[in-house]
Subunit: 357 residues, 4 copies
C-alpha cells in the first residue's frame, strides 16, 4: 500500500494533534517529519514521535527538504501560515493549512494566488467543522431540500471562560475574536449558502457590536470578549454570529440554518456525552470543555480525506476562494466591531465608502 | 347560568386542592360545602373558603344533607373513600372519588356495584393522568395508528426522596407502593390497551421484586421503597412498572407505549419548566418536586370535565370497572412483591392456584 | 368577597381571551362589560358572555360609563390602544393595556404622561412574558446571582409560517416586525438588565438587517419577514434579537441571558407538551403553533395579578416607563432595518445625528 | 516500536470491524492474519486486508500457527467462541473473545477454567459498552459517590425492527433474546454493582415475561421479540431489563443507575448526532440504526486497550468470572421467559428447586 509522506509544521496545541492524527489515525498517511522552533515542543516530538520513525526538525525550511516528502500540514502560529504554505507549494507539496490563512485579507489572497499557480497541488484550509458528521448531515439534508431555501443563519463559536488571562495575550496575534472564532461560522454560512459550486455569495454589508465583560485588557489589542455581528449577502440572505470567551459550562458552538420550509440546528443542546446526572438540584449534563473535545473526530476525518485527495488526485472538499472570502468578512466584522461603523460592499466585493452611501 | 352544586369531603393535601379548583377554576361549578374531621383543616376552610360562601361541616353525613347538593368530591383518607362514595350515591349524588377506590379489591367492587345500581349518576374515579394534556395527546396519537398495535408499556411513578420518614407512617394505610403509586401506571396500561370501549384486557400474571434502599422501616408494614412489577395480559401484551420513593431530583412519572410500528413517550425527559442553567459544572434543569407540580393542570381539567358530565348528562371518560381492575392488579402486585411468588389469573379473572400450574 | 369590576375593550383574537380569563379564571375579578365595533365579535360576546351577566357594548365610550366599573382591559387594535387607555384613565379606571402602547414613540409617551397624572391608578402594559413561570424562574435565578452580571441577551420571537398572506395585510398597522414581535424581546432585555428598580438601561445604538424570504409583499409596507437587530446599551451590555414569520414547526420564542458566570436559557428546546413520537424517520416532538399556545398560563397569571394590584393597591410589576422605552427601541430598530443605517443615542436618550458622529 | 501481532477469527459483521480496527485504528497492534470458513468473507479479506500484508486463512487451526502470532480476536459464530478461545489459550495466545462466551453456562465456565490455567495470558470478553465513553463517565461518577449506593438498575438493549425475518433465522443460534441482547445489560448491572474488585453480586432470583408482537416465528425457537426480566441480587439490589427487536426509530440502548442519593442515565434521549430538523410536523432527530452506529468508538477503544494490556502486561478491565456470571443470568432469564416460572438461586449460586421453596 502506498502511503502519503507528510510532515507537520508547528507542534503547539493543534500541531501535536495533527501530528498524532497523521501518525496513528490515518492509515494511508505516513508522518515522516515534524518541525518547530520551540525546544519544548521538539522534546515532546522526540519522545512521542521519534519511536515512530518521525524525523524532528528545528527549521521549517530543512523539513521541507525531507527526502520524498509529498505534503505538509501547516499548524504553526497564524502569523506564519501563509509564508509556510506558499513555501510548501513552491516546493511542490500538497498543503493542509490551519485556519485562518492569515489575519490579513491581502496575505490570504497571496496564498490563493500561489495555489492557482499550481493547480495540480491539493491545498486545503482546515475548517474542521466541514468534516464534522453533524454539520455534514445538516448540509446533506439542506441539499435534499428539507428546509427549502436557506435564508437566515445563526451561528456561534463560544469558548469556555478561561480566567488565566490567556485570551488577552493571545489577542495580540489572533486577528480578533471575529477572525479567530467567527471565521468558522462565516465559513459555515458560505458553505450552506453556496450554489452551483461557487465558494458562496458576495457580502453586502457587515455590522457588529461587542463588549469586554470579563477581560477589559482586551481593549488595548482592539478586541472584545463578546461580540455579535450581522452579515448581509447580495443574494438576499443574512447571517448573524455570536462569539464569546465567557461560557461558564464549556465550549458552545451551535448553528441554525433557517430556510423557507424548515430549519436545521446543529448542537443547540450541547453535551459532552450521553450521561445525565439526577441530583437534589436537578438534572445535569456536562459540556465539551474545549474546541477539540467537540471536534476531535472531525479533525481525524479531515486528515484522512486530505490524504485521500492527495493520493487519489481528487478535488479537496473546500474551495480556497472561500477561505479568503471568510477572512475578508471576518476582518470587516472586526473593523466594524471596533469602529462602530457599518461596512458596505458592492457586488464585486469592493468596499463602498461612506461618502458614496 | 346553572352551576353544579358540589361539596368536597376531606381537606388534606389533595382535598384542599380539589376544593380550590372547584371554587375558583371551574366556572360551571359552585362549591357549596366542605367537610373534614380535622380541626386544623376546618380552620383553614373557614378562613379560605368561608368568604366564598362555602359551608364548613365537621361531619360528612351532615354535609351530604346540604340543601340542593348535587355532587360530592371524595378526597378524604383512602380508608373511607368507598364508604363515603357509596353514601353519596345512596343520597343520589354524583361522585368524583380520589384514587384508589379502596386498597381492597372487594370493597372497590362494592363501589362499582353501588354505581351500577344508580346508572343515572356520574361516578368518576380520579385518575388524574387521564386528564393530562400530554397523556391525552399520546392516547390520541395511539388511536390514530401512529405506533401500530401497542404491545409493551413501561411506566413509572417515582416520588422525590422525603427523608422525614413520612412514607413509613403513610405505608400503614396506603395499601403499599404498588397500590398507592403504580395504580396510576396500571390505569394507564388499561387505558392504552383498551379496545372497543372495554375497560382494558384481562390480567394473566403478575410478578414483582422490591427493596428497601432508604427506608428499612417500611418492611414492618409489608412495603418497599423501590419496586418493579411485571404484568402479562391475556391478549398477548405486557406492561412493566417501577415505583420508588427515592428520586433525588424530584417527581419522575414517565411512560413509554411501545407499538409494532413506533413508540410514544411521555415525560422521559422530566423538567419543571423551560429554563436551563449553564454553570461551571454543566447544564442543569429542575424537576417537579411533587406529584401536584406535575399534574396541576390535569386536576383542573378533571374538575371541569366532571362538572360538564354531571350538568350535560354525558358519560364520564373513565369506566369504573377499570378502577376496580386497577386495584385488583395493584393488590396482586403488592402480594407478589411481599411473597416473592408469581400470581396467575385465568381468562375470567380468577386466580389460578399454584397446585394447578 | 369584593371583586374587581372590569370591562374588556376589543374582542378580537386577544380580546376574547382576556375576556374569558377575567370571566372564568380570575376569581377576584368580575367581568361586567365588553365592547367592540365589530358585529361578529359582538354576537360572539352575546352568546358566550351574555349568560354570565356581561353587558355588551358597541361603543367603547358607552362601556366606560358602565355603573360601578373600576378597570378596563384594552385589547383592541393597536391603533386605538393609547386613546382608549387615556380615556379610561380620565374616567379614573385602572388599565391593563395590550402591548404595544402604540407604534409611535410620542403617543406611547402620552400614555405614560397620562398615567403620571393619576398615580393612584394601576396602569399595566401587558407584556405577557413577564408573567410566564419560566421567565420568572430565570429572572429569580439571575437576581440570586447564578449567572454573575448579565451582559449579553439573545432573544427571538418567531411566528409559524402562515401562507394565507395574513401577515402582509397585518403589516400595514403592526408597526413592523420589530415593533410587533421583538417588542417582547426588548422588554425582556430591559427587565433582565434593570438595576435598582430602574426601568432598564439607556439604549446607545441600534442596527438591523432583514429580508423578505417568503412574503415579498411586505416590502410595500416597509416590513420584512425575517429581521435581526443589534442593540447596545450605555451601561456596556448588548442584546440581539431575531424575529421571523417563517418558522415551519411552530412558535419559537426563546431567550438566552448570558452573564459573566453562567447562562440562563428559556425555551431553547421548544415543545408543546411532554410527548415524543418514535417513528421510522426518528424521534419527533411537536411545537406550540401560536403565541397563545405557549403563553396561555402567563395571560391568566397576568389577569390575576393585575386584579390583585387593583384590589390591594400594590404596584404593578412592570414600570410603564419601560413600555415606552421598548417602543422607542423597537421603532428605531424598524427604522434601521428599512434605512440600513445604524442609529445612535446619547445618554439622555436623544438621537445623535450622523453629522455629529 | 514493538507491536502486538494479532489475528482475527471470523469475518462476519463483527469480525470485519474488529479486523479493520486492529489493522487501521490500533497503532500498537499489527494485524497479521485472519481466518474464516466462508469463501465470500475470505474474498473480502484478500481484497481489503491483503494489501496491508495480512495473511488470509481458511482454517482457524492453520491461522493459530501463524509465525510469531501473539493474540487472537475470536469474532466467529457464537457456537465456536469457546472452542476457538480455548485453542488459542492452549497455543499460549492472548484472547479477545466476542460476547457471549457461549450460550451455555457450562461451556462458558470451561473458557474461564482454561483461562485460570494460564494466568499469564490476557483473556477479555468483549463487552463493548464497558469501553464506551458515556458508560465510563457514569461509572466514574458512581464510584465518586455522586448517587450514593446504586440500588436499582434499568437497562435495555433494543434493536431496530428488521422486517426481513433475519431475527427468526438468527434465533436458532443466538441463545435467545436475553442471552443475545440483555447480556450487555446484565454485564452493566454486574459492573455497577461490583464492590472491592469482585465480579459482581450473586443473583438471587430471575423472572421474565415476553411476547411475539411482530415475529410469531420466533416461538418455534423458544424466543420472543420483546421481553422484560427482573433480577434480584443477594446483596439487596435489583435490576430490570427490557430487550426488543421492534424499535421503529433505531437502536435504543439505554440505562439508568438509581442510587440512594441520585441517578445516572446513559442514552435515555437517543440521537445519532447533534442535528435537529424543524419541519411542519415538529422537531425531529434521528437515531443510530444499528448497534455499531452507537458503539463504534467503544470497539476501537476496546481494541486499543486490549493491545495495551497484552503489551504492557496489565490486567484486562473486565474479569472473566463476570462474563460467565452474565451468561448464567441471561440463560436463567431465557428459561424463565419460556417456562413462565421464577428461578431462585442460593447464595452460592446453586438453583433452589421449587419443592424447596
Amino acid at each position: 500500500m502506498t502511503r502519503l509522506r507528510i510532515a507537520c509544521a508547528g507542534l503547539g496545541r493543534m500541531g501535536k494533534r495533527h501530528a498524532v492524527h497523521f501518525a496513528e489515525q490515518t492509515p494511508r498517511a505516513h508522518l515522516v517529519a515534524v518541525s518547530s522552533p520551540d525546544e519544548t515542543e521538539l522534546e515532546w516530538a522526540r519522545e512521542h514521535l521519534g519511536p515512530l520513525g518521525v524525523t524532528v526538525y528545528k527549521k521549517y525550511d530543512d523539513m521541507l527538504k525531507h527526502e520524498g516528502l509529498q505534503a505538509v500540514v501547516v499548524a504553526s502560529a497564524t502569523a506564519v501560515h501563509a509564508e509556510q504554505a506558499i513555501k510548501a507549494m513552491d516546493a511542490d507539496m500538497h498543503v493542509l493549512c490551519e485556519k485562518p490563512l492569515s489575519t490579513s485579507v491581502e496575505i490570504s489572497q497571496s496564498v490563493l494566488d500561489a495555489a492557482n499557480r499550481k493547480p495540480h497541488l491539493k491545498i486545503l484550509c482546515g475548517f474542521s467543522r466541514r468534516f464534522d458528521a453533524s454539520y455534514r448531515d445538516a448540509h446533506t439534508k439542506m441539499l435534499a431540500g428539507t428546509i427549502g431555501r436557506p435564508s437566515v443563519i445563526r451561528s456561534q463559536t463560544c469558548d469556555k471562560l478561561d480566567p488565566s488571562g490567556f485570551f488577552v495575550a493571545y489577542a495580540q496575534f489572533s486577528g480578533g475574536i471575529f477572525v479567530d472564532c467567527s471565521i468558522h461560522d462565516i465559513d459555515l454560512a458560505l458553505w450552506f449558502y453556496s450554489e452551483d459550486g461557487k465558494p458562496g455569495p458576495m457580502v453586502k454589508s457587515v455590522s457588529a457590536v461587542g463588549i469586554t465583560a470579563v477581560e477589559p485588557g482586551l481593549r488595548k489589542y482592539n478586541d472584545r470578549d463578546n461580540a455579535v455581528g450581522l452579515v448581509e449577502f447580495h443574494d438576499g440572505r443574512i447571517a448573524y454570529f455570536y462569539a464569546s470567551r465567557m461560557m461558564a459550562a464549556g465550549q458552545e458552538d451551535s448553528t441554525e440554518i433557517i430556510g423557507t420550509k424548515g430549519k436545521l440546528t446543529v448542537n443547540t443542546q450541547p453535551q459532552i456525552n450521553l450521561v445525565n446526572v439526577y441530583e437534589a438540584d436537578g438534572v445535569r449534563r456536562e459540556l465539551p470543555q474545549h474546541y477539540f473535545d467537540r471536534f476531535r473526530e472531525a479533525f481525524v476525518t479531515e486528515a484522512r480525506e486530505f490524504t485521500d485527495c492527495c493520493l487519489d488526485d481528487k478535488p479537496v472538499p473546500l474551495k480556497l476562494e472561500g477561505a479568503v472570502q471568510a477572512v475578508r468578512i471576518g476582518y470587516a466584522l472586526q473593523e466594524a466591531l471596533i469602529s462602530g461603523k457599518k461596512i458596505v460592499f458592492d457586488e464585486e466585493g469592493q468596499r463602498v465608502e461612506r461618502a458614496a452611501l
